[in-house]
């Protein structure tokens, strides 16, 4: 495991390492070029195409890079299979906004798409980074970009959602900065990989404040209320992106900060995260039961899913770094991958109804109009509930497996009871789709444009069910999270 010895800080490696910046630079160049193109007033589809191409090319560039444990600049950026896996997942999540956003885009598409690319750059940097300051700055770039994206519509509700998102986001940022400063006072460095293992009071304050700050971004209980309003008020494609991309990014940053940066305080990490995850799951599931607005229901369900995700952090906090921790991190990685498709697809399914706020009864009779779409949406919802033959089952299976291996049986039981509660509201939606009469005629928007993302996501979800082999692979990648920790 002594990867640190394999990391050499030769000049040669440093010049080699600059190849890793090319995707980021490329994205930035494309974004500025698009802004420059904006004066010509080209059709918005062209911008979407350019963005899509740029994202794909950058993904290919990242994949072509060598997978060595390359560390650049005093442990601040780490390029290995672990970070690259998450980067790929984040890039996939951007695909959920590029084309679906075209429908509601009225003016200045070049700014919208350039913003997406800038957000993506921020995401990649903060995913690669192991330095708190760089993570913070890059994450702020992501946040600022998403404030813009959330408020991009011309309507009042978009602005309202964006404002709510902005205010809570800044509060989260303030907490993060406060936590950062305490981290610095405790350790004397911003690098997460420092070998300083101290359980000083300053460190605890840093822990709590960083948790609050990034908990806002991840939208876990009790920092979740903005997310409900923000997802509800924004365009469907934007909420799909917010609930997948930024959430998975925040999850990954939580993994890095609390499992690598606070390696001396695992005890506290465990307690805090267990409490938060149990509350997130339970509260969000219970709140979703009484929701009639479908989008708010999905928002609550994403809070619950975040609760499942941070079980991973709690588990590693309990067991310490070892084989079980790697299984847990791998389960979290798999869950993230599946989560992108489930949640993005189901938020984009809101496009099927020609209404601003979609209530559950609005999807009634969808199976009559288009059985394939209804079945696809049902598959996504079953995936969220964890029913077999969807990727959601495989993801939950590995999550529970890691919990059992970590001897946290009571946490597994709580999670399982919660997933049983969640069946109620997911299946209520399926019920309305399949055996209720349509309430109002012809309010469905069944263009291929709105159907395709849902169907494609559902197909991918069923395909992911069979990816049992992904876990051993991820299990080999997961130690990369702890790669730069001293002495391990």
């Amino acid at each position: 495991m002594n990867i640190l010895s394999s990391i050499t800080f030769t000049l040669h490696a440093a010049t080699q390492a600059s190849v890793y910046y090319y995707p980021l630079i490329f994205l930035g160049v494309v974004a500025f070029a698009m802004l420059a193109l904006g004066i010509r007033g080209i059709d918005k589809k062209v911008y979407a195409g350019i963005t899509f191409a740029a994202v794909l090319i950058s993904m290919i560039m990242i994949l072509l890079n060598p997978y060595d444990e390359i560390v650049i600049g005093n442990n601040s950026l780490l390029f290995n299979r672990f970070t690259i896996f998450f980067v790929i997942v984040l890039i996939i999540s951007v695909l959920y906004i590029i084309f679906p956003a075209l429908r509601g885009l009225k003016s200045k598409p070049e700014i919208f798409y350039a913003t997406i690319l800038f957000v993506l750059i921020g995401m990649l940097v903060s995913a690669f980074s192991y330095n708190l300051i760089i993570i913070f700055v890059a994450f702020e770039a992501v946040s600022l970009g998403t404030y813009v994206l959330a408020g991009y519509g011309k309507q009042k509700r978009h602005l309202e959602a964006s404002a709510k998102y902005f205010f809570t986001g800044t509060i989260g940022t303030a907490f993060t900065v406060f936590g950062l400063s305490f981290f610095y006072t405790a350790t004397g460095t911003f690098s997460l990989t420092s070998e300083v293992v101290s359980s000083s009071p300053a460190m605890l304050i840093a822990l709590i404040f960083l948790l609050i700050g990034f908990g806002f971004k991840l939208a876990i209980f009790p920092m979740h209320q903005w997310a409900i309003d923000a997802y509800d008020g924004t365009e469907n494609s934007v909420s799909a992106f917010l609930s997948t991309g930024t959430k998975i990014l925040a999850f990954m940053i939580l993994l890095k900060i609390f499992l690598v940066g606070f390696s001396g305080d695992y005890h506290y990490v465990f307690y805090l995260f267990v409490i938060l995850s149990v509350f997130s799951m339970t509260y969000a599931n219970l709140a979703a039961l009484s929701q009639n607005n479908l989008k708010r229901l999905l928002a609550y369900s994403s809070v619950a899913q975040a609760g499942y995700l941070i079980l991973v952090v709690a588990l590693v906090g309990d067991t310490g770094i070892g084989n079980v921790a790697y299984v847990a991190v791998a389960a979290g990685m798999f869950y993230s991958l599946v989560y992108i498709f489930m949640k993005g697809g189901s938020f984009l399914a809101m496009n099927l109804v020609n209404k601003e706020s979609v209530s559950i009864s609005d999807v009634s009779g969808l199976a009559r109009k288009s059985p394939v779409t209804a079945l696809s949406f049902a598959i996504l919802l079953m995936g969220l509930a964890g029913i077999p033959f969807t990727g959601g089952f495989t993801a939950k299976y590995y999550l529970f497996l890691s919990l059992i291996e970590g001897n946290l049986w009571w946490l597994a039981v709580i999670a399982i009871l919660n997933s049983a509660i969640s069946v109620f509201y997911y299946f209520r939606v399926i019920m309305f789709m399949f055996w209720k009469e349509p309430t109002t005629e012809s309010n469905f928007n069944l263009t291929p444009y709105s159907k395709a993302p849902v169907i494609v996501s559902a197909v991918i979800m069923v395909a992911l069910f069979f990816f049992f082999y992904l876990l051993p692979t991820l299990n080999g990648i997961a130690p990369g999270l702890f790669a730069t920790m001293g002495g391990i």
Partner: protein
């Protein structure tokens, strides 16, 4: 290999049914009949001759072998009898379905349920077992929710969530076995043949005591929900009552065998690890189920609901026989009551299929389900009434019919173990007999209720279906060795 071909054919047929349009009904009925023929043929070839019923070869195909996930299929005496049962039950359920509102998807979902049952019974790998165990619920949920009677929304959700909770506890148990087996042998495996290994489970240095109890608890919870046993039964009457009749046949005959298979197929191989306290608790639950459900059934006005409780009551015998059989010390007695328990599952399934099918035809013709709203219908429907009476008599355990064999061997066997508690079992049997006879007397005989108007008797096709089911019950009653031999060979191989 042959059984794998049957299984794959069934899955393909069930998916094909969805695309059949108006021909789906005929297609589903024919394919279900084909599956019955194939399964019975397979059973006759593989399980004839003395002592057949042990384990036939296991066909294993690597799926994700590094994680111990294989797609592996195996058949033994228990499995094959339940396979025949579930195929016959599905055939009956599909044959009686004749309403206009049953669309294409109804038949497809019924066949999917049957495929799920086949998958549960055939899987020798825990992950696939669990997946099929879970996947059976989904088509059933859709059937109850789309084609059910009143309160179908609530009831279908209740059915799904209730049984889903039981299932996920089974998953936790499987994961427990999986993760601790690694420390025992150094390989990751989910094969039942490896994990259900008594020397591993009873060795507390490999499987700590707490985790052993946790594992047993999870399995038992999941299986007792499915059976159902006393405290976990509240989904059952609602689901049976709300489901359309063909689905009720499927539930009563097909889905209740899942719990029985769980007990006898998964818990029995590791019986040495179950402590006597748990077994006595199971006996208590079984007895409470018997008596309580019998009393509850007695007070039902709706005949369908009454038979739902009667079905749950009959499954109480299964729990008792399982627990008492393990407690017993004499191996011959053990064999009798355990075989009786398995026979009871089979007999109960077919009897319930007969009763619910007949009840379906009666309610189709009269429009009444309530006992008091019928009355004297034997005058107008002699055929249907006779079949219903035959079903009732079989259900209350009349000698010469299938129900008697299971109940008799269980009662004879458990007497050694539970002693004076047998009084409650006998009491439950008496109550069962009394409300069956009472119901038959109120609804079928006596003065004809003139408010019913003009009703017609069963058509020839319906008579043919019911007569063949009755014939099966009768044959199993007078010559139980048809499957009793296979079952006792299976049980003898374990104890």
């Amino acid at each position: 290999m042959f059984i794998l071909a049957i299984f794959i054919l069934l899955i393909l047929l069930s998916f094909a049914t969805f695309f059949m349009g108006s021909r789906a009904e005929k297609f589903a009925k024919v394919s279900s009949a084909l599956i019955v023929i194939l399964t019975v043929t397979y059973a006759l070839i593989r399980f004839s001759g003395p002592g057949a019923g042990g384990f036939t070869s296991e066909n294993t195909y690597a799926f994700a072998s590094g994680l111990g996930i294989y797609f592996s299929i195996g058949v033994d005496g228990l499995t094959v009898s339940l396979l025949i049962l579930s195929s016959i039950i599905s055939l009956i359920a599909l044959l009686i379905a004749n309403r206009k509102e049953y669309t294409t998807s109804f038949y497809g979902l019924m066949l999917l349920t049957e495929s799920g049952l086949f998958g549960i019974l055939l899987s020798r790998n825990f992950l696939f077992f669990y997946i099929f165990w879970e996947i059976v619920l989904v088509p059933m949920y859709f059937i109850i929710g789309r084609f059910g009677g009143e309160r179908k929304d609530t009831v279908s959700l209740k059915f799904f969530v209730y049984t889903h909770i039981g299932s996920v506890f089974i998953l936790l148990s499987i994961l427990t076995l999986f993760s601790y087996y690694y420390s025992y042998s150094g390989v990751f495996t989910l094969q039942m043949s490896s994990l259900l290994n008594a020397s591993f489970i009873n060795n507390s240095s490999y499987l700590p005591l707490f985790w052993k109890d946790f594992m047993l608890f999870g399995f038992l919870l999941g299986f007792l929900v499915k059976l159902p046993s006393f405290p976990l039964h509240s989904w059952l009457p609602d689901s049976y009552t709300t489901a359309p009749y063909p689905a009720t046949v499927m539930l009563a005959g097909g889905l209740s065998l899942m719990g029985g298979y769980g007990l006898f197929g998964i818990m029995l191989p590791i019986y040495s690890s179950i402590s006597p306290i748990v077994l006595w608790a199971l006996i208590a639950l079984g007895i409470i189920s018997l008596v309580y459900f019998a009393f509850t059934a007695m007070f039902q006005m709706n005949m369908k609901r009454m038979m739902a409780y009667a079905s749950a009551s009959a499954m109480g015998f299964v729990t008792i026989s399982f627990a008492a059989g393990i407690l017993d010390s004499t191996s011959s007695i053990k064999s009798i009551e355990l075989s009786g328990g398995i026979f009871q599952i089979v007999a109960h399934g077919i009897i319930m299929a007969l009763i619910f099918s007949t009840l379906y035809f009666i309610t189709e013709n009269t429009g009444k389900e309530n006992i008091y709203q019928m009355g004297g219908i034997h005058r107008e429907m002699p055929w249907l009434s006779s079949f219903l009476l035959a079903g009732f008599l079989a259900s209350l355990g009349l000698p010469g019919l299938a129900g008697f064999i299971g109940e008799f061997s269980i009662v004879v066997g458990i007497f050694q173990t539970i002693g004076w508690l047998i009084f409650f079992v006998i009491l439950a049997m008496i109550i069962t007999a009394s409300y069956h006879i009472w119901t038959a007397q109120r609804s079928l005989y006596g003065a004809y209720n003139e408010n019913l108007g003009k009703v017609s008797d069963a058509s020839r096709k319906e008579i043919a279906i019911l007569a063949s089911v009755t014939l099966i019950i009768f044959v199993l009653g007078v010559y139980p060795n048809l499957i009793f031999g296979i079952i006792s060979a299976y049980v003898g191989g374990i104890i």
